[in-house]
């Protein structure tokens, strides 16, 4: 089972890295999601597979031995939530970038108008007239 999961993690990581290297930023984001799943499965596998008993304490006070390690699952749960938040923010960010810059191609976003050389960001705010 560990070997199977190791290959799965490796495969997912390869797909994720490939997608993250693509020029389009949406592909980058999907690559991040795939790579994030690879990382989660990796933690799961690193936390030792084996027993399928839940780590519960019986009414008598006895613990089912050997019980499954609950910690990796807690870690993965945290990582999934964080990954979800990052992905949600990323989608909105890329949407706004597409609107403002007119491109989501990593190769051309650098040459987008008004971006290089770095302009004065304060000047671009719509409230310029208000503050000066």
């Amino acid at each position: 089972m560990e070997i199977l999961l190791a290959f799965l993690v490796g495969g997912l990581a390869a797909v994720g890295v490939y997608l993250m290297l693509r020029p389009h930023l949406i592909q980058f984001l999907i690559g991040f999601l795939v790579l994030g799943n690879a990382a989660n499965l990796l933690i799961f596998t690193a936390g030792r597979l084996g027993s399928q008993f839940p780590p519960l304490v019986q009414p008598s006070g006895a613990v089912l031995e050997p019980y499954a390690n609950p910690l990796p699952q807690a870690l993965i749960l945290t990582a999934i939530v964080i990954g979800f938040a990052l992905a949600a923010f990323g989608i909105v960010l890329f949407y706004r970038a597409q609107q403002a810059l007119g491109t989501l191609n990593a190769e051309t976003i650098l040459e987008a108008p008004d971006v290089s050389p770095a302009p004065s960001p304060v000047d671009e705010l719509p409230t310029e007239g208000v503050r000066r």
Binding site: I43, A79, L93, P119
Partner: protein, 493 residues
């Protein structure tokens, strides 16, 4: 007095939440400053407590040490929290004077304090996975701050910053997962005890994963490219906060794991860190010289000087580590002052492109002095704080016989001086170019925070003994992790 340990977290969290809830801008502005002052006070109290009673630890939720999450404050953590409080106050004062209605309406103060929440959490946690979570807290706040206002430059910079941060987060997560698999521990003190049983080769491979993950956050060679591409984009009140705090979190994490956990093969790992430090120093300084825009120039200076902090970590003697800690603290103050100053100059001239600036010495001679204080401190000239930081590192390098890195450090000091001199000549001495904007109005209260930070760097330079001895105490604790482990786990090694 365990509440002192969580106070630097509670204050910014409460402030951030209140700023989100309270609708009025005035209330937010008052809270923004009050929260920063409260954080500074909490940092002072925590440092005093650590100074009096040694390393402090608190088990959250009363879960005993290796199982629950522990917060630990040694001298290093307490000092970092304190100086981040100083930077927070300066930036809050600047933001008050800047009166940026659009960004304040979008939640600048709430986000700024949530960022501080994440930064202080990262400084204080004693658990590696918890450190990952704090990194995400500060990253998410910084993502939004980076693009707050939504100008084109900010979005373009934000996309790059976001992408690189995602990558380093995943690397960090993978590294934590593998280290957990190898040791079965996440508590850093527990890890320090357990890594002895791990195969050294595996441990070295894991340490390299951490070096890359934290190196990306700290913007060291060869992972620094994202920083000058994104930090100049947001306005001064945001970029100064980033420059002062964010890369230092990466440096802090590197110092922590490479003194507590990965000390099995210092001949390889710490020599590598020295090489990284050397290249960071040299490339950052050379590229800063090639920049024609003030904030990009400062960003490269920021990258370059991260190398000094790694230099002390690479040498790994008590004096060198003290130099690293001292340098990090000094640099937080100095670089925040310079980024705020860039904001002042932009306000005066409407641009930070050096060729289009000039002629400020006549109308604003005191502003030239205000630039020279942190500028010369960055270059490491006496009597400023940067001098003692650099002096300590160079002395430590000579003692340890690391002549190569010492030569690089001294050369980079010269290059920094050259770079600061060029800026001074371009901005203050040169005649104002044709079509340059006349200074519109005064600077108002914006000068106050820059002045405070500049005076602080001078004061630390003239009276370096307290901070230097605190840094040495921090270095002693880092090199003798038994005290840290004792404080967290309650057992000696």
């Amino acid at each position: 007095m365990s509440w002192l340990l969580v106070l630097p977290l509670l204050v910014p969290l409460t402030t951030g939440i209140l700023c989100l809830v309270l609708p009025g801008r005035t209330a937010q502005r008052v809270l923004g400053l009050a929260g920063a002052l409260g954080l500074l006070a909490a940092g002072l109290a925590l440092l005093a407590q650590v100074q009096r009673q040694g390393i402090q630890a608190v088990q959250i939720g009363n879960w005993p040490a290796p199982f629950g999450i522990t917060f630990v404050a040694d001298h290093l953590s307490a000092l970092m929290v304190l100086i981040s409080g100083v930077v927070a106050v300066a930036v809050a004062l600047f933001a008050l004077a800047e009166n940026d209605q659009a960004r304040e309406g979008l939640g600048y103060y709430a986000l700024g304090h949530l960022l501080l929440f994440g930064v202080n959490g990262a400084f204080l946690t004693g658990d590696l996975f918890n450190l990952y979570v704090w990194f995400e807290v500060l990253l998410l706040a910084s993502f939004v701050l980076m693009i707050l206002g939504g100008s084109k430059a900010q979005l373009a910079g934000g996309v790059k910053y976001f992408a690189v941060s995602l990558l380093s987060s995943i690397l960090f997560l993978v590294a934590v997962g593998l280290l957990y698999g190898a040791t079965g521990a996440l508590n850093m003190a527990d890890l320090a005890l357990r890594v002895e049983r791990v195969h050294p080769g595996l441990l070295t491979a894991l340490s390299m994963l951490f070096l890359v993950a934290f190196g990306l956050k700290a913007a060291v060679f060869p992972f620094f490219f994202w920083l000058p591409a994104s930090y100049p984009a947001p306005p001064a009140m945001i970029s100064a906060l980033f420059a002062g705090l964010l890369t230092k979190v990466g440096v802090y994490a590197l110092i922590r794991v490479f003194t507590l956990i990965f000390t099995h093969d210092t001949g390889f790992t710490h020599s590598l860190i020295l090489w990284v430090a050397g290249f960071t120093l040299l490339l950052g300084a050379l590229m800063a010289l090639a920049q024609g825009e003030l904030r990009r120039l400062l960003s490269f200076q920021l990258v370059s000087h991260i190398g000094y902090m790694l230099m002390g970590l690479g040498i790994l003697t008590p004096l060198a580590l003290a130099g690293s800690v001292f340098y990090a603290l000094n640099h937080m103050i100095v670089i925040a002052a310079l980024f705020l100053l860039a904001g002042l100059l932009q306000r005066l001239q409407g641009t930070t492109v050096l060729v289009r600036m000039g002629g400020l010495y006549g109308p604003y001679p005191w502003l030239a002095v205000l630039f020279l204080l942190p500028g010369l401190s960055l270059a490491g000239l006496p009597p400023f704080s940067g001098f003692w930081a650099k002096y300590t590192l160079v002395a430590a390098g000579l003692q340890a016989g690391q002549y190569g890195i010492v030569a690089v450090a001294l050369l980079v000091g010269l290059l920094t001086l050259l770079s600061m001199g060029l800026v001074f000549a371009e901005v203050f001495w040169k005649k104002a170019p044709e079509g340059a904007r006349a200074a519109p109005g005064g600077l108002g209260g914006r000068v106050l925070p820059v002045g405070l930070l500049a005076v602080l760097t001078l004061a630390i330079g003239l009276w370096a003994e307290p901070l230097l001895s605190l840094s040495q105490a921090a270095a002693r604790e880092l090199l003798e992790p038994a005290g840290y482990i004792q404080a967290v786990l309650g057992v000696s090694r």
